[in-house]
């Protein structure tokens, strides 16, 4: 029975080792500031893509408004730290709670919609959030919020990312998570099996939005300034691309997608005029050769070597 917990501990230890190695490389200056910044960005994007994956990949609800929730978390966070001197962790959590609460409010009516209709509705909601922020002079309007204290560092990003991964992994491997997956697979059958589909759609949406809010807080405290222009629907597209590239319904996929997209974008920084063209072509080619994403529904922990390390409990 405690195999599951043992596996968690192994993963945690593995995570800490990865952190120690990366942190060491940064302190030694082997990883320069630019790549350090990008590693942090990858971490934040992993939180975004894995949380979006909970909504899109696991629960099958096509949301295109994730950048909007990120914006809410970011702005609530920076107002609290900059204007009210709330400690960083408190501001992050408050940002996450605010985004989650908004996700809940928005989810209640809109999650009745299906497929493309839900997609365009959430896209619209994301834009509404952004436009409303843009019209609030208190947070700097369209020009952005300035003088944000620089609290985010690699350790914050890494451990919050790790927490997010554990949270979502544990969630999807439970009866709650199975209820969400059942909705994705066949909503009518899920309902017939006693799953309160509305409740679980909203739950997934709220949790996803809350983590996006926390990621927004991390993002904002990394850049001294945030502006509504960083949270457009184009940004929601980018998060969706991460999820689909990595694999819908796979946490490993979410990580790989976030890594891939952020990395490509950074690696092409020296060729600005070709960057987006190459990115677009890569995207199309990847969809040709792996339409289900790099990982599909599969987790890396189910693959060969990891299986041997992590002996799985029972038959699963």
């Amino acid at each position: 029975m405690n195999l599951l917990r043992r596996n968690d501990l192994i993963m945690l230890a593995f995570g800490i080792v990865v952190f120690a190695v990366l942190q060491g490389l940064m302190e030694e200056g082997i990883i320069g500031s630019f790549w350090k910044l990008n590693l942090m960005l990858i971490g934040i994007n992993i939180i975004m893509s894995v949380s979006l994956n909970l909504i899109n990949g696991y629960t099958g609800q096509f949301s295109l408004g994730h950048a909007g929730f990120m914006a809410v978390g970011a702005y609530v966070g920076v107002v609290l730290t900059t204007n009210f001197h709330v400690p960083f962790l408190g501001a992050l959590l408050a940002g996450g709670a605010a985004a989650g609460f908004l996700g809940f409010l928005i989810g209640l009516p809109t999650l009745r919609l299906r497929g493309d209709y839900l997609a365009i509705a959430t896209l619209g909601l994301g834009e509404i959030i952004r436009i409303v922020i843009m019209n609030i002079e208190y947070v700097g309007g369209a020009a952005g919020f300035r003088n944000i204290p620089h609290y985010t560092n690699f350790a914050w990003v890494f451990f919050i990312m790790l927490f997010t991964l554990f949270f979502i992994k544990n969630f999807v491997n439970s009866s709650h998570g199975r209820a969400c997956i059942a909705i994705r697979e066949n909503e009518i059958a899920a309902e017939a099996m006693g799953v309160n589909t509305t409740k679980y759609k909203i739950m997934a949406f709220t949790i996803g939005a809350a983590f996006a809010g926390i990621a927004g807080g991390l993002f904002a405290h990394n850049y001294y300034i945030i502006s509504p222009a960083s949270f457009t629907f184009m940004q929601s597209f980018i998060f969706l691309i991460m999820v689909v590239l990595g694999g819908l319904g796979s946490i490993t996929g979410g990580i790989a997608g976030a890594f891939f997209v952020t990395f490509i974008s950074a690696a092409l920084a020296n060729w600005p005029e070709y960057r987006m063209i190459i990115f677009a072509l890569l995207l199309i080619l990847l969809m040709f050769y792996r339409p289900q994403g790099l990982f599909g529904y599969v987790e890396i922990t189910n693959m060969g070597i990891f299986r041997k390390i992590l002996k799985r409990g029972g038959t699963a």
């Binding site: 439970s174 997956i181 059942a182 697979e185 066949n186 899920a190 006693g194």
Partner: protein, 256 residues
């Protein structure tokens, strides 16, 4: 015995002027195995959808276990103890056979969100129980060796069996089977019927069965309702039904 489990009185269902079911009266006692037959388009599946909350009756009452279930959502009805299978199989096709069954335990899980994500408290105990019970169910339906296979890769007959296993995992008092033998060959059908008899005894279930094929129902059901154009044209023991001229007319056509 003969305690009543479900009673349906004067239920009608109107779809935009079309009466799919009219003045439907029905009861089923605890432990009974009842059949619902009728030609194509007679409204059998509509009746199931009314029982399970997919549709709401336009008029009439449905009482289950002494309480009205009209107005409840499908998942609430499942939680009250009615589980069903579907005429057109609705498995969670991209998931493993085991996960299909595990999902149906959903409404019996007590651990909360916090216990889930922190993996403490009742989580491990309950997950272990679910896994064991699921495997037990699968072995009843001879699916235990395919537990890790994706549901959509199962052969047709096995998919039908998995749907029944999944419905049972919801621990219902009343099991509704919508054409469970559709598309099966006679040998498979016979095995299935034996299995239904057996699970009814083993799990102490009440079963309501929709079938197209009259002979099959005759062999297994204790009572039968015959539907035509949304109306009950006959009900009673198989022997009575066999002799009923209305039923013969409905099935053989022509004017008797």
């Amino acid at each position: 015995m003969a305690a009543e489990l479900m009673r349906v009185e004067d239920v009608s269902e109107v779809f935009g002027g079309l009466k799919a079911v009219s003045d439907f009266n029905f009861y089923i006692n605890k432990g009974e195995l009842v059949g619902l037959i009728g030609p194509n388009g007679a409204g059998k599946t509509t009746v199931f959808n009314l029982f399970t909350g997919v549709y709401q009756p336009t008029t009439g009452t449905i009482t289950f276990n002494g309480k009205s279930i009209v107005g409840l959502k499908p998942y609430q009805i499942t939680q009250r103890g009615i589980a069903r299978t579907f005429q057109n199989i609705r498995l969670f096709s991209e998931l493993s056979v085991l996960d299909n069954v595990k999902i149906a335990y959903h409404c019996h899980v007590k651990y909360g969100l916090l216990e889930t994500v922190l993996r403490m408290g009742r989580y491990f105990q309950e997950e272990k129980e679910i896994e064991e019970e699921s495997m037990k169910l699968l072995s009843v339906f001879k699916l235990d060796d395919k537990a890790d296979e994706m549901a959509k890769n199962l052969p047709y007959g096995a998919q039908r069996r998995l749907e029944i296993a999944r419905a049972l995992a919801a621990k219902p008092k009343l099991l509704l089977l919508d054409e469970p033998a559709a598309g099966m060959n006679p040998q498979e059908t016979k095995e299935l019927m034996d299995m239904i008899r057996w699970i009814r005894k083993e799990f102490g279930l009440t079963v309501l069965l929709i079938e197209h094929d009259m002979n099959l129902v005759m062999g297994i059901c204790e009572r039968i309702y015959v539907l035509e154009y949304g109306m009950v044209i006959a009900s009673g023991h198989p022997e009575e039904i066999k002799k009923n001229p209305e039923v013969i007319r409905a099935y053989l056509g022509g004017g008797a």
